[in-house]
Each structure stands twice: as C-alpha cells, then as structure tokens.
Symmetry: C2
Subunit: 266 residues, 2 copies
C-alpha cells in the first residue's frame, strides 16, 4: 500500500517552530498522534529552521516523539553530524531525507549512509539544477541507485524523488515527470517513488484538487509514497481509493474501514 511520510514536524512551520523554541511537548505529541491516526507511515522530523540550534532541537524532538508513536521516523537534515546523532537515538530503522547528486550534499551524505540499515530518499537533483526532461530524470535516478547500491543500500530501500515541477510554467511538466516515473520503474521495479506533490500546482488557484488528481496519475505509473500533510483529508481519501482501484486492497477492506471511520467521503 501507499506510504505517507507525514511532513508536519518541521520547524519551518510557524507553530512548530514556536513549540520547539518553548519546548512545548504537548503540541508536538498531539500533532504526531494526529498524523498517525490519519494514516501516516513515517513521521518526518526537520529541525533545520532555528539556525545554530539544529542539533539540540532534533534531540529534543526525538526525545519527545519516540515515546508516543510506533511509527518509524524520517530524519530530515542536510547535516551528516545531526543525522549521525539522530540515527543513534532512534529505536526503529529510520528513513533518511535526503541525498542528491549535488556535489556538496552527495559527498557529505554518501559516507554517512555507507553500510547503514535505513531507507533513503534520493533527489534527482544535481549541480546543473532541476531536471529538464524525462530522460534527464531517469539518468539521474540510475546514477543514484548505482551509487547507493555501491555503499550497501539495496534498491528496495531507495525512495527516488523525481522532483515535481510547476505545470503553470510549462504544460508538459506533468507528462515529463509521469513518463520519468514509468521509465524508472521499468528499469528498477523494486525502487520506491516518493516526493512532494504540491510543486505541481505552484502558481495556480484551487491547488488541492490539482495535487490529489496528480497523485492519482503518479500512482498509476508506480509512485508508492509521498511527503504530504496526512491531515489533508481529501488527498488521503484519494490515495486510499486509488490503492483499491490499483488492486492493492484485497476485498476493498481498507477502503470500507475508512468509509466506516468517516475518512472517505464522496
């Protein structure tokens, strides 16, 4: 089934930043519980916004979150030192967010990831910037898989992010990434496809219907994970419905359970 990486515990969000600054554990615990109840598979934890405080903020967040959830965490930082500390604290094998082909990030992250038991989000970004074509995305994905395999990360632990770009700038940006996902899954059937979705609707009104229609299209070609807000009820209902339609929900059991709980409404 589709895996939702809950994106809410991020100090770039105002209320989270205030809660972290005030060491308001109640706020953080309540938010994590809500994400779990809504169906998150991972809780992303990003403590990067308070400059100079990332290490201590990350430590406090992990101390606060781990006792109240059974979900694995997604450790979200560009700094290998912060990740190494966090990796030592987590009880369950985490996801690491993220590596890319940008030289600085790549050189910092690859030694950290070497031989570790974890999942990895790998962004199809390099020093030339955002990819310009489906082939470009597929080529970057191949490089990432090869390098990660080389340090002991198996393909089924890699979550490739093809980098969704705004359709308002070019009508073909949707097709570009959809075709890339199809191409990646043809080469690497075991790899996961993840990423943020909301870039697709950047610059347009009524963004949520765009985001949830787009995730449906992406799921058809093999996207099986996304970094989203699990409290967006409509996108969660769409994802569960698409999972059923794509044959991943035997006897429609999960769909029916979610209708009964009120999580899926026409």
């Amino acid at each position: 089934m589709f895996e939702v990486i809950g994106e809410r515990i991020n100090t770039s969000r105002k209320l989270v930043q205030a809660a972290v600054a005030d060491r308001d554990a109640e706020y953080i615990v309540s938010d994590v519980k809500k994400q779990q109840e809504a169906g998150a598979s991972y809780i992303d934890v990003n403590a990067g916004a308070r400059i100079g405080h990332e290490t201590e903020d990350m430590r406090w967040l992990l101390d606060t979150i781990q006792p109240v959830t059974d979900l694995p965490l997604c450790l979200d930082s560009p700094d290998p030192a912060v990740l190494e500390m966090a990796f030592g604290m987590v009880e369950r094998s985490p996801m690491i967010n993220s590596i890319s082909l940008e030289k600085d990030r790549f050189d910092a992250m690859l030694p950290f990831l070497s031989g570790k038991d974890c999942k990895v989000i790998a962004l199809c970004m390099d020093d030339a910037g955002m990819p310009n074509s489906s082939d470009d995305i597929v080529g970057r994905a191949e490089k990432l898989v090869k390098e990660l395999n080389g340090v002991g990360i198996p393909t089924e632990s890699i979550y490739l992010d093809p980098l969704v770009q705004p359709i308002s700038t070019d009508s073909n940006k949707g097709l570009m990434v959809l075709r890339a996902v199809r191409g990646i899954k043809e080469k690497f059937p075991e790899v996961h496809i993840t990423g943020g979705l909301s870039n697709i609707s950047y610059g347009l009104p009524q963004r949520k219907i765009i985001n949830r229609t787009f995730v449906t299209l992406m799921m058809n070609f093999g996207m099986d994970s996304a970094i989203i807000d699990p409290l967006d009820e409509k996108i969660m209902a769409t994802i569960k419905t698409a999972d059923m339609l794509l044959g991943k929900d035997k006897f429609c059991g999960n769909y029916l359970k979610n209708v009964r709980s009120g999580a899926i409404v026409s």
Copy 2:
C-alpha cells in the same frame, strides 16, 4: 481534450420518462442546456424505456433538442430502424450508441453503419458475456476495429468501450481494464476509449470518489471520453484538472477559466 457524452436524456430515468410521456419540452430543453453549460461534448438520447413508443419518442426528443443546442447528438438505440430514422433527422454528424460483438446486435448494426458518416461506440461484449482478462478485452477491440474499418468507419471515429466491471467482486477488475486500455492504445493510437464508469463502484459505499479517481487512472492510459452525468460537478472538475496535468490544456487556460466560473473547487 476529454469528451463527455452527457447521459441524462434517457427514458429509463423517471423524470425524463414522465417528461417524454407528457411531451413536456420545457423539462427536456432545460436539462439539455444544463448539460451543455456543464461542458458536455455530446448529448446522448435514449428513448428505449417506453415499450412500443421508441420511434415516436425518439422523433419527438430530436425535434425538441436540436433547435436548442449546437452539440452533436449520440443516438442511443439497439434498433437499426429507429437509428435510421434518427440519422435522417440530425443536422450534425452523430455518434451511434452502440455496436458489439454479440451476434444479434452485430448483424443488425453493421449494415446500418456501412458507409455512414458518424462516430460509433463499440462495446467489447460478445455472446460469451463480459470479458475475463485484459487480453480478452484487447482481442475483442481488435475484432471491432477490423470489422468497422471494413464497412468504412475509420479508426479515429471508433469509441471503444472496454466494459468497466465492479471492483467489489474482484480486486483486480480495475487493473484488468486499465491494462486493456493501455494495450488497445498501443495497437490503435487513433482510437478513442469511452464507456460508463460507475460500474467500477457498484456494491460499494461513497461511490462518487471511486468513479472520479478511476476516471483519472483511465485517462492516464488513454481514456479520452466517457458517458457520464455532466451535472456531477466533482467528476467534471477532476476530468478538467487531469486534462491539464496530462498536457492537454495549454497555459492551463481551460483550468483557469473553470476556476473563475466556479466549476472547479478544491
């Protein structure tokens, strides 16, 4: 762009049957205008439910509808005599609904269609009943295209209906028809894919979210038409959004127009 065949003028619907029995032109005209405003590309006209009255009901409906719409009509009857009469009345090249591989229907419809200037809905149904696999659907589609080409109907005028079946009876029924659509479009890139959608959700609660999520998946593989109720605002908004995401809406112009008119709401 996606073509919506508006399904509302059908005497199997109670209010339409009453309006036809009473020769209540105002009701019919109002319904047709609403379908056109909502974005229908064709108006389906089915007068089959009042046994023994089909010919006169169809004639009255066409006399009532044609003066008030510029849309082409979709003439919906299994009876070639009714269709021949209707074909002689319409001002614009119509769509004919439908032919299938069932021997009785096939033998009746093929001579009627021979050499005519029209679009044709062709159901992947034969005397063995509903198809049982993707290959079965593709095989029936090939037969239909070959036979219709043989009487002068070009492939781009054929609207194949792969026959959507309920996912409540088998979790793989969604994948089966999705893969069939992909297979048909690989063999015949110019053919259209159409059909009803609501069978997919038969037997399940909250059916509309299933139907509109399913049309998104079908559009990803090449469905470019459907027989639906254009007054279902949510499915229409989803179709327009998916058209944009699939690169069929230059500069997002149609999407933005529909947001401004209130037809697309997140």
